[in-house]
C-alpha cells in the first residue's frame, strides 16, 4: 500500500503537478469570470489552483494506494511475501504415546446424544 502510495505521489509530482496547476487556474478563472464578470478575483483563482492540485493529486494518490493494496494482496496470496523455507533433514519423530484408557463416566458415554 505504502509503495503504491509513494509511486502515486511521485507520478503526480513528475507528470501531473503542472497540468493540475494549469487546470486549477483555468477552473479558477472560469469561476471568477462567472462571479465578477470581467474581473479576476485573485482569491477565487488561487482557490481554483488549490482544488486542481488537491483533486488531481487525490486521484493519483488513491490510484497508487488502491493498486498498491491490490498488488500486496496478490503477493500475499501467491506467498511471495513469506521467507523461503529451507528443507533441513530432521531426525525421525518419536512414535506417538499410546492413548489412555477411557474413564467411565457416570450416566453414560461422553458425547453420546
Amino acid at each position: 500500500m505504502w509503495i503504491g502510495t509513494g509511486v502515486g505521489i511521485l507520478a503526480f509530482l513528475f507528470a501531473a503537478l503542472r497540468p493540475a496547476l494549469d487546470f486549477g487556474l483555468q477552473a479558477g478563472r472560469t469561476l471568477s469570470g462567472g462571479i465578477a464578470h470581467g474581473h479576476e478575483i485573485a482569491v477565487v483563482v488561487l482557490f481554483g489552483r488549490m482544488l486542481g492540485v488537491l483533486g488531481i493529486g487525490s486521484l493519483f494518490v488513491v490510484m497508487g494506494a488502491v493498486l498498491g493494496t491490490g498488488g500486496g494482496k496478490i503477493v500475499h496470496l501467491l506467498g511471495l511475501d513469506r521467507p523461503d523455507v529451507v528443507a533441513v533433514p530432521q531426525p525421525p519423530a518419536p512414535p506417538p504415546p499410546a492413548p489412555a484408557a477411557a474413564t467411565p463416566v457416570a450416566g453414560g458415554t461422553p458425547g453420546a446424544a
Binding site: R18, P19, D22, F23, T30, I35, L51, S58, T69
Partner: protein
C-alpha cells in the same frame, strides 16, 4: 482549397497590377538574388529562410521593384494617386510599403477579392484602426510556406485572426464591440485548438479574403445566411441551432439566460467547494488530534451477541457504484481537455485517449454507462418500493442539521465526541443527492449536446447555449467534489486510508459501525440484547 487559397492570397495590392498590364516584368539584378543577399543577410531574409519559402523562385526585385545592381539606385514604377496615398498610409507599418503592393502582381484573383472586403475598406478609409495588410495574416513573405490543410494550419490561421479580434485594446480602439471576441473559448475554437480536422476555423464561416461585415446582407454569418452556413457541416440545422453558437462575449444584455446560468453555476461551485474544502480541513485536524492523543476508549470490545459485521451495500448497490465510478472517472478524463483546451497538457491527454475521435467515443460510451447506472438504480428503488422493502433513511431530515452543527463543533474541538449518526450521515446523504443532481444535470445537458440538431427543433437557441455552459460548469463542480471531498471521506482520511472497503465487500465491521454510525450501532446492540437477553 479555401485554406490553400488563403495562403496564396494576399491582396490588397490589387491596386497595383492593374495599372501595369499583364506583360509587366520587373527588372532583375545581375546574378539574381545573390547580389542582394551579399548585404541583406540576417534573420529577416537569410538564404535559408528564403530557400525554404514558397517564394524561393522569385527574384527580390519581383516585389522590391525597380532596384538595380548599383546599391539602391532604384527607379521605382509610377504609382497612381490612390496607390501613393496607400503607400503613405502603410509607411508607418512597414519599412518597404511599396513592396506590399507587389503581392497582387501574382495573386491577382485573391487581390481582387480582398479589394472588395471589409479589411481593405478599413485600410483605405480613415478608421480608428487601420485594416490589415497581406502580411498581417500571412506574416513574413520571405519565409512564407505552403501550408497544407492540416489541423495545425487551421489553428495557426485562426490564431492570427484572434491576434487582432481578441485584443481588448485594439477592439476598444476600433470600436468593434464592447468586449473582444472569444473564439478560442467557443466550442469550435476549443476543438480547433485541440487539433480537430472537422471543426471550423474563423475563415470557414467568415471566409478569408472576401470577409464581410457580419451585419451586411452578403456575409455568410449574417442573420439571413447563418443557417445555410451551419448546414454545410450540420445537416438539418435550424435557426435555433444557428442562434446557439456564438463567440461573442457573454453579457447580460445580449444573452440573459446563459449569463445567469453561468453566474449561478459559478457561485454554486465556488461556495459548495469552499464549504466542502473547509469541512475536509476540519476533519483532517480532528483526525490528527485523535492520532496525537491516541484515544483508547473506542477500542472496547464489541458486546457478545452483536454481529461481527453488517451489510451496508448489497450486490446491486455495489454494481451501481462500480458503474458510476468507471463512467464518472472516464467522463472527467475525456471531457476535461475540451473544457481546458488552451492548455498544452489537454492536447497530451487527448492524444493518450486516442485523439478527439477516441475521446469523443469514450465520452459517449461512458455517458451511456452512467445513464444505465441511473436507470438500474431507479428500477432497483422501484422494485424495493413494490416489495415494501424500501428504507427511506437516505431522505434528509431535521436531524441532519443538528448532526451537522454537532459534528462541526466536534471537528473544531469544541465538543468531545462526534454525533451518533444513524445509518446514513449528512455527508453520505449529501453525496447521494449530489449524484442525483449531477446525473440529472450532466445527463440532461449532455444529451442535448450529443444531439444538438435534433433538440434544436424543439428548444430555442439560448437553451442550447445554456446547456453547453451548464454541462461544463457542473462538470467542474462534480469532478472537484468527487476528487477532493468524496475521495477524502472514503480513501484519504487517515483513519481509513487506503479505503473504506464497503464499496468492494459491501460489509462494515461492528467496530467501524460504532465509530461512524453510532446510532445504528446502538440500535443493533439493543436489538441483539432483546433477542438474546443476558442471563
Amino acid at each position: 482549397m479555401r485554406l490553400h487559397l488563403m495562403f496564396l492570397g494576399a491582396g490588397l495590392l490589387a491596386l497595383a497590377p492593374a495599372a501595369r498590364g499583364a506583360d509587366y516584368k520587373a527588372p532583375h539584378p545581375p546574378d539574381g538574388n545573390r547580389s542582394c543577399l551579399v548585404c541583406h543577410q540576417g534573420e529577416a531574409f537569410g538564404v535559408e529562410k528564403i530557400s525554404g519559402s514558397v517564394h524561393k523562385d522569385l527574384s527580390c526585385t519581383d516585389c522590391h521593384e525597380g532596384y538595380e545592381w548599383r546599391a539602391h539606385e532604384a527607379q521605382e514604377p509610377e504609382l497612381s494617386a490612390d496607390q501613393v496615398a496607400l503607400v503613405e498610409k502603410l509607411r508607418t507599418r512597414s519599412e518597404v510599403p511599396r513592396a506590399l503592393l507587389a503581392c497582387g502582381n501574382c495573386h491577382s484573383e485573391e487581390a481582387d477579392t480582398l479589394g472588395k472586403s471589409l479589411h481593405t475598406r478599413w485600410l483605405r478609409e480613415e478608421r480608428p484602426v487601420p485594416g490589415p495588410t497581406c502580411i498581417s495574416c500571412h506574416e513574413d513573405p520571405h519565409g512564407i510556406r505552403r501550408v497544407a490543410e492540416t489541423p495545425a494550419a487551421k489553428r495557426l490561421l485562426s490564431s492570427r485572426c484572434q491576434r487582432c479580434h481578441e485584443d481588448p485594446a485594439l477592439v476598444a480602439k476600433a470600436g468593434l464591440s464592447a468586449e473582444p471576441m472569444n473564439f478560442r473559448d467557443s466550442l469550435h475554437g476549443r476543438l480547433v485548438t485541440l487539433g480537430s480536422d472537422r471543426a471550423p476555423g474563423c475563415f470557414d464561416c467568415h471566409t478569408n479574403h472576401a470577409v464581410q461585415d457580419p451585419a451586411s446582407a452578403g456575409a455568410p454569418v449574417a442573420a439571413g445566411n447563418k443557417v445555410r452556413t451551419c448546414r454545410r457541416c450540420h445537416d438539418g440545422a435550424t435557426q435555433s441551432f444557428a442562434d446557439a453558437f456564438t463567440h461573442r462575449p457573454l453579457t447580460r444584455e445580449a444573452q440573459p439566460a446563459p449569463y445567469w446560468v453561468h453566474t449561478f453555476f459559478s457561485w454554486l461551485t465556488t461556495l459548495t467547494l469552499f464549504a466542502l474544502f473547509m469541512h475536509v480541513l476540519l476533519d483532517l485536524g480532528a483526525e490528527i488530534r485523535r492520532w496525537w492523543r491516541r484515544r483508547k476508549e473506542d477500542e472496547a470490545p464489541v458486546p457478545a451477541g452483536v454481529p461481527h459485521d453488517v451489510v451496508r451495500f448489497d450486490l446491486h448497490q455495489r454494481i451501481q457504484h462500480w458503474m458510476l465510478i468507471a463512467s464518472v472517472v472516464a467522463l472527467t478524463l475525456s471531457g476535461w481537455p475540451i473544457r481546458a483546451a488552451a492548455l498544452s497538457s489537454s492536447g497530451s491527454l487527448m492524444q493518450m485517449l486516442g485523439g478527439l475521435e477516441g475521446a469523443a467515443l469514450l465520452h459517449r460510451v461512458c455517458a451511456a454507462l452512467m445513464g444505465a447506472a441511473a436507470v438500474y438504480h431507479l428500477v432497483y428503488l422501484t422494485q424495493r418500493l413494490v416489495q415494501r422493502r424500501l428504507v427511506l433513511k437516505m431522505v434528509p431530515s431535521p436531524r441532519d442539521v443538528t448532526d451537522l452543527a454537532h459534528n462541526l463543533a466536534f471537528l473544531a474541538g469544541l465538543r468531545p465526541d462526534r454525533p451518533k449518526f444513524d445509518k446514513f450521515s449528512y455527508m453520505e446523504k449529501f453525496d447521494y443527492w449530489a449524484v442525483f443532481w449531477g446525473v440529472a444535470i450532466m445527463g440532461g445537458t449532455g444529451l442535448v449536446r450529443w444531439f444538438p440538431v435534433a433538440f434544436s427543433h424543439v428548444l430555442p437557441g439560448w437553451v442550447l447555449y445554456a446547456t453547453q455552459l451548464a454541462h461544463g460548469e457542473e462538470a467542474t463542480l462534480a469532478a472537484s467534489a468527487l476528487f477532493v471531498w468524496h475521495f477524502y471521506n472514503v480513501h484519504l482520511r487517515p483513519s481509513i486510508f487506503p479505503m473504506n472497503w464497503v464499496w468492494l465487500t459491501g460489509r462494515m465491521s461492528a467496530e467501524s459501525l460504532r465509530e461512524e454510525h453510532g446510532q445504528e450501532y446502538d440500535d443493533l446492540v439493543a436489538k441483539s440484547a432483546k433477542r438474546d437477553p443476558a442471563p
